[in-house]
Symmetry: C3
Subunit: 261 residues, 3 copies
Amino acid sequence: VSAPVVTFLSDYGYRDEFVGVCHGVIASRCPAARIIDITHGIALGDIHSGALALRAALPHMPAGVHLAVVDPGVGGKRRAIALSTATEGHTLVGPDNGLLVHAAEALGGVRDAYDIAGSPVASRTTTTTFDGRDLFAPVAAALASGTAPGELGKAIAASSLVALELPAARRDGAILLVPVISVDGYGNLELAAFELGTGVLTLELGGHVRDVQIVRAFSDVPPGELLAHVDSRGAPAIAENGGSAAARLGLAPGDLIRVRL
Amino acid sequence: VSAPVVTFLSDYGYRDEFVGVCHGVIASRCPAARIIDITHGIALGDIHSGALALRAALPHMPAGVHLAVVDPGVGGKRRAIALSTATEGHTLVGPDNGLLVHAAEALGGVRDAYDIAGSPVASRTTTTTFDGRDLFAPVAAALASGTAPGELGKAIAASSLVALELPAARRDGAILLVPVISVDGYGNLELAAFELGTGVLTLELGGHVRDVQIVRAFSDVPPGELLAHVDSRGAPAIAENGGSAAARLGLAPGDLIRVRL
Amino acid sequence: VSAPVVTFLSDYGYRDEFVGVCHGVIASRCPAARIIDITHGIALGDIHSGALALRAALPHMPAGVHLAVVDPGVGGKRRAIALSTATEGHTLVGPDNGLLVHAAEALGGVRDAYDIAGSPVASRTTTTTFDGRDLFAPVAAALASGTAPGELGKAIAASSLVALELPAARRDGAILLVPVISVDGYGNLELAAFELGTGVLTLELGGHVRDVQIVRAFSDVPPGELLAHVDSRGAPAIAENGGSAAARLGLAPGDLIRVRL
């Protein structure tokens, strides 16, 4: 039998003890658990980026508990939730702010949802700003230990979960307005879904028209040239071979790229 | 039986191989050990920040060996130490520069102290600048394997340990001068201990007077507003709902906040 | 019996899910594997820095599979390889771009080499930009599970591997021109190999002549002073006690230091 797995994504960063403390809480309560850090470098409070990274990661993870905390509303009225998915053996734990639902879709969709705010395993504490330590990690550890989610919270309707609309491309005459939805650490620009096709992508950027080759690999264009491709998340993307397309084009998440149809 | 635990905090950062090398040394010498990284993002050589993070983290960690290295005096005259604590099952390992003593207090205080500089398990090496690899990790691995600290060093008096005074608030007439003792990755300002009370905190900052609400959760004030609360370490803190109080107020560790009594 | 070990070094950084996804792939395919992260903070696409860090780290690692991905040519014509070494029990996996060969030398040299590009364990995918996930992690997991490298790729000549020349010192009359080969997170300058000797090192820097003491420990000189020493990788290095020599001297990898003989 393999060790129970807890995966962990957050915006806690790498400066403070926050990630380590959550590891300690899980290891104290479920010593057999193996923890896999997905990333803790999500931009602070950026639920969209967290949701996209979690959605991209979970299909590659073993069955287990998936703890995710990007939670600018911590301590407020947002619910705390656990979600089982249609794909057997996966339970997601985190705030009800849209962070989890796209990843749950990638695992077949939400099967059962639970409000875990009043969970009996939560730590008693006078502070309200570290639910990762005091609520989510204890619940994740209990789930990893085999406790049923129904013992850790009360069932709620999946339809009541907070949605998170991801930016979508929209047509404006002969132009497709495509939002940048994410920029990775290499400066590659992930775009909202559209049919990339083959050949050349014609972009209007800052008044200039640019033809960008649609290729399979970065090295299909010379170093320093832009390219379009389907990225590792399966999304259309603009990259620069050996450089940062984001820096080159001055683009960030939310910015619109004008694509000629 | 659970795997022996080694927790690990340092200022080694995430660019170089230093953290990984220490993991390798521990895994080579004690293959059963499970290593929990607390953080390696402590500001370079900042013993104060390291001590505060370690003190905040250890009460949440399983029993085990706690390796901590923020060690600007490496290779010099500072001692290398191992400390057992009043709380059973915990041993701290690191430099004798104040880094460990506050965390040991949080685990009931130092019970026994050992000078491990000449430990028989240390690696022979011609270099003196990486005691994490050559001395502290080997000692941590030996402790995790069940070796008694007395076999790894010679007993010293707990009273001889280097102290680390943390900044304290002090009264100046009708004003309490409160040092910022830490800034976390979100820009929250942790303050030296004082009784926060309830209602409103009146601050004098750069010639301006500001009333800040004392609340329980960030979201108890509107987005973009400052607040005062007891933070996750149990300390009084100034934060901004959805933003960085440190950036907003231009404050850093060591700066003084003037609080009206 | 200990768990099989997979060590992992990359330039994937800490912002995105890339590192976590590779962990997930390995844990899914070889649940018993223990993964040791060496670092994922190698400068983007910097094969030299990756090779130096890997070479410094592997001699401290347990026997196992060593996965390393700094791969600006991903998806292009560069080969993907697995290398067994003269030191028993170690197999390196990564791109054939010079990243692995110096580390293999540190483990006694390459014994057998395999081209794993067409490995039967690789994931089928339409994208070509994340071989860490789709090729290297699956191969590493298969090796950790006990699959022989010969079943994962086809044997190639060790002599056909891409070499990576590291910068070397060279003599110019009474001056030794010594390239900076690496700068660590503390700002210490690692230099190309030369006999450091004892006493004083005389440098010509920006038209100035500086005498730097050759010492064993940072603290052998006063705080704020430069020093020369043999660093933890065994290389000659210039450091500042309590500061950053790189910032102080304005030097970066590739820059030349003029040493008077």
